[in-house]
Symmetry: D2
Subunit: 386 residues, 4 copies
Amino acid sequence: MTTFDDIAPQLEHQAIEVPSWAYGNSGTRFKVFGSPGTPRTVEEKIDDAATVHRFTGLAPKVALHIPWDLVDNFSALRRHAEDQGVAIGTINSNTFQDDDYKLGGLTHHDEAVRQKAIDHHLQCIEVMYATGSKDLKIWLADGSNYPGQADMRSRQDRLADSLQRIHAELDAEQRLVLEYKIFEPAFYHTDVPDWGTALLHVQALGENAVVCLDTGHHAPSTNVEFIVAQLLRAGKLGSFDFNSRNYADDDLIVGSADPFQLFRILFEVIRGGGYEPDSGVAFMLDQCHNIEKKIPGQIRSVLNVQEMTARALLVDREALAEAQQAGDVLGAHETFMDAFYTDVRGDLAAWRESRGLPAEPMKAYAASGHQETIEADRVGGTQMSW
Amino acid sequence: MTTFDDIAPQLEHQAIEVPSWAYGNSGTRFKVFGSPGTPRTVEEKIDDAATVHRFTGLAPKVALHIPWDLVDNFSALRRHAEDQGVAIGTINSNTFQDDDYKLGGLTHHDEAVRQKAIDHHLQCIEVMYATGSKDLKIWLADGSNYPGQADMRSRQDRLADSLQRIHAELDAEQRLVLEYKIFEPAFYHTDVPDWGTALLHVQALGENAVVCLDTGHHAPSTNVEFIVAQLLRAGKLGSFDFNSRNYADDDLIVGSADPFQLFRILFEVIRGGGYEPDSGVAFMLDQCHNIEKKIPGQIRSVLNVQEMTARALLVDREALAEAQQAGDVLGAHETFMDAFYTDVRGDLAAWRESRGLPAEPMKAYAASGHQETIEADRVGGTQMSW
Amino acid sequence: MTTFDDIAPQLEHQAIEVPSWAYGNSGTRFKVFGSPGTPRTVEEKIDDAATVHRFTGLAPKVALHIPWDLVDNFSALRRHAEDQGVAIGTINSNTFQDDDYKLGGLTHHDEAVRQKAIDHHLQCIEVMYATGSKDLKIWLADGSNYPGQADMRSRQDRLADSLQRIHAELDAEQRLVLEYKIFEPAFYHTDVPDWGTALLHVQALGENAVVCLDTGHHAPSTNVEFIVAQLLRAGKLGSFDFNSRNYADDDLIVGSADPFQLFRILFEVIRGGGYEPDSGVAFMLDQCHNIEKKIPGQIRSVLNVQEMTARALLVDREALAEAQQAGDVLGAHETFMDAFYTDVRGDLAAWRESRGLPAEPMKAYAASGHQETIEADRVGGTQMSW
Amino acid sequence: MTTFDDIAPQLEHQAIEVPSWAYGNSGTRFKVFGSPGTPRTVEEKIDDAATVHRFTGLAPKVALHIPWDLVDNFSALRRHAEDQGVAIGTINSNTFQDDDYKLGGLTHHDEAVRQKAIDHHLQCIEVMYATGSKDLKIWLADGSNYPGQADMRSRQDRLADSLQRIHAELDAEQRLVLEYKIFEPAFYHTDVPDWGTALLHVQALGENAVVCLDTGHHAPSTNVEFIVAQLLRAGKLGSFDFNSRNYADDDLIVGSADPFQLFRILFEVIRGGGYEPDSGVAFMLDQCHNIEKKIPGQIRSVLNVQEMTARALLVDREALAEAQQAGDVLGAHETFMDAFYTDVRGDLAAWRESRGLPAEPMKAYAASGHQETIEADRVGGTQMSW
């Protein structure tokens, strides 16, 4: 029987990267709702990320998105972050918002557009050198809407070439992290729709090329934790984009749609060594707080990951292995569920307090008056959005 | 054996309503791409609809969306349309783009917001009286993103009340058409997610309340033609929003993703009497031409409907019934497929020509220079978008 | 704040109907595995159901399936059940295993086959009179595999007629419960695929015709709790067939695939009055224990329903309503989740003990030696199967 | 503009492998319907396969399933096939119908069971040597039904080891073909659920290990033709199991559910070189004729593949490439659709006749009296089934 005290030490090193864009306004194709207190500058986004870290101790890094987070002086931005107690994490490229990318970027049939997309990634790598970021994450919006519109095969060849040229600019400490997504914004085919495709590309690039698994980027019914186990076994799981979905890439708060799935995913992460401090697996959020407040939305999210990590650590793996080895279907399942059903919230609150953190971060944030302050202060300017 | 000549007379009365918003810019949450020649005014959108009709003879009506198509003088707009050879069709309401509607409209827990949403529909009804439109189509973006966020049950009660108050303002010739959608922009629940829910509401309203079936608004694997048959049998199929989907509500060109599905749907429409001139079923498009040119995109769409209607009419229903009655699985299926596999394009071209229309509308449009003209003329102003 | 003591009284009247067929062998089209201790007679199946009730206090009724559970003397079977401490519940008809039903039963194009299917239901009604059962549950395997194979529309008409003739034989105390299912064994269309279709048919029959919701019979991504709310609002939710699914109609142990979904469903049941003692909603299991032991599989299942019912009852509905009314998205969601995350297992164990039941039924069953006894005793004969 | 005459030569080498099991009875978990004329012996199954080839010229090989097709003398069986004009194709293993395989075969935690499963494959390899078959196809039913039931990670390790030991027994001319499937008969996880997993395993084995793509084994919404393109690009597409699905692994007649998908798949096959005579891609059917007659069901199937191959060959690839390179979305799509919409049936009938085959194989088979003959002759004995 594993107890909270047994697992508490393993909670120490948990670190979740939050995305700068989660603090800006987001929405659906139908409407992006504004909300009071939304950052107007990259610095204010970093401030919000730092606030999440201050209340939870869980979010020491913030991921940037280029060009959304372009600033003149990235060294200054890095110092600003450090002053707030956080570091710059993954750099995310963006080849989906320029008119030239209407029919693709790194896969584009027009060499000029493709070169532009490659150059954009080289610029991202410069940002990495300036900020100390180690990961370049590439999510492609590339794809097509109509059968016949594009030649899927040659696009793969061009993608391979583009990635190689980008990868060549990374040093050995830096990583290229390739994300896959089944659909959206393209609606017939996407050029990296599944983990198999991402795997083939990073295999071709080398050791420091890995895959990013966004939990909302799969077909309905996909067993996501299996893919986690598989990528870990292949040594190719680079990072997570955590969020929840019920239908498509809904980008909801992680753990809100199916907490048991989050538990299963984290169990496989632990099982496969991905939770070890040196595993190289980066835990990131990628969410859209379309209707809820953004800072508490992020606090809720990192807490959900922490709570489910604790539950997953609580699985009595010895008893589990024994039941599995005995072919005891119900017994093994029950051992697994026991951990999931264990309410760790009280223990976690005490543990947080013992480390100088608020016992209940959501309540502490609400009571802090911080939200009211930023809503009052951040008036004028243009709210950041995507 | 049914021949093209047998069915040609039935093609005469085919009429497809095109949506004004198809001519404006649209896109995904990631990007709305602009395109040269896009209308800057409601009048220019109507001109584009009229162009589609001129080249195809298939699109005599254009649906409006309020407030996107709000003008000061709807009588003048009506005359403008008539001068171009088209009429104003369905009026679509919009309760998803005002900040007040963040958590709902006709279902909102705040009576003030709900009243505002109701009032918006009364304004739409005024537009109907001014334009001669007979149908008020209501698609609700209402729903919630998180379990517990909203009380689904009381929202149904409020929706029923809202609809009743709107319906009360319609005269006996006018119809309330309620659309359903499984998700988006809400990602946990929507308040009218399926045809069963829409049915219950229109049953409560009365004879002149009917359901709109958007072909892209269902869960994966849903047999859409079965729902068509069912709604026709219940006397409650009011209209179609035609489009194609591969994943979610992709709003692609109708017939482009699965032409056989379009064939099956049109077969059930015909089978159930929905293609009869007096059936009351309105055939509408609801699409987004995110990356393709909009006018030829619409021409392609109405042609797809026409071609599949012709194929569906070609089904030898006598032979089919005989095989079905004999329990001849392969024989009945083959009779059905025979019609689908028949290439009607040559016959249709000749038939169009005989009626003074271009034999091949896509080629005729391309050759006409119209696209170049509007691209050159429509410079300055603000492109219409949603 | 709602406590376990507040809700304990409401647990008293919980009653879950177990299916006789869960104790027989089941499997997939690939293989039905036998298992030691499987009943050879209807009586032994009832004994197993009674065992589940003895260990849990939750399963006072057992549903029968005709012809699987045909016996010469149903009065004797009823007495046998009563002697074991359980009652006969719902009678399930079966029109999918006779060669005549290859192309349908109640919808069949051949009047002789259709009459045979109707007559089978009249026989079921006789069993109801003999056993005191109040519910006739009809699940149709009817459908087609190929487009064109069958005339979907006339099948609806024949179904309506068949149901009317069956319904006419029920007395006012008895109910016709119509189940829907999206697919399987038919793979193109099924004749009652969704709740909307089931609703139309039971509306046509009258007050004592209601719908059965099997939690595994929906398209991927369907919000099942919404349908629960909707059917309750319409007064047409007759019963549940509980089970779990990941992909299709997997018929797994209820709550095993997505415990949070079970929580949400039970919350809507309670919210809509369906958990009231006089609600008329019957809670049934419909599962296949293909690889796990059957009696403990059923014990696990009824416990899962009980545990999630307790959690759902724990929702602080006053606080929830307040947060909902305030438009507090995160607050309302958190109130909802608080109940789900509360570990009720200890309280439930104590509560069971206080009522003379085993604190931990799974352990008590394992320790009882009952499984070993039936495995030793039930040798020879033919194991019941479907 | 590509014409039928241009492509006719490429139709010459088309060869589709038919499965012996398609001629036996099959069904769902609910019922396997028998049908008159069903083979009682392996030889009769081969006779039926030969009949399909005689009427179509398309099916020169028949795949076997071990142990379903176990005979004492495989050399004699091979001669029997050759006498009928067909050859023995792929050998399919089966580790899902023995009681020992309840919890797995090649992945089993019990070394004795795993060894048995490996040994079964060695037996299959012996059959390959005896029959001249070059392909060993492995589809695993392995998986689990409940989270926690099995250790997914160590099962991968055992699978890799099992495959290596099997692969070691093949000679350089023989291939190991690994099939993937998202679910069924396992309902929580399967050990080879997707092409990525299959790819990793065959990569580890070597050149003569390849992947089998069953068109019905994917999650809803999966773009199957993309996977075809991807596996061809990686040099790892070994064979197809063709069939149709609407929901799960429905195993319907290929092309019946979505003919346009079949067209798109065949286009990518051609585009990627998979249709070249020396490509090594084997085209197989894997279907269940649950309710339709089996021989004409197979004839219909191979004709569907032929008709869609012809349409796919008709794509004007030069015009297509030009439109794609010009970024002409609608033009490229239209060029693609032009081929799909072309009715090739008349040309194919003439072409068949010119080669001494029946112009219309379905009609010819119906007129031949063959079905009546086997129904009259094949009385007594036990119908083959699975």
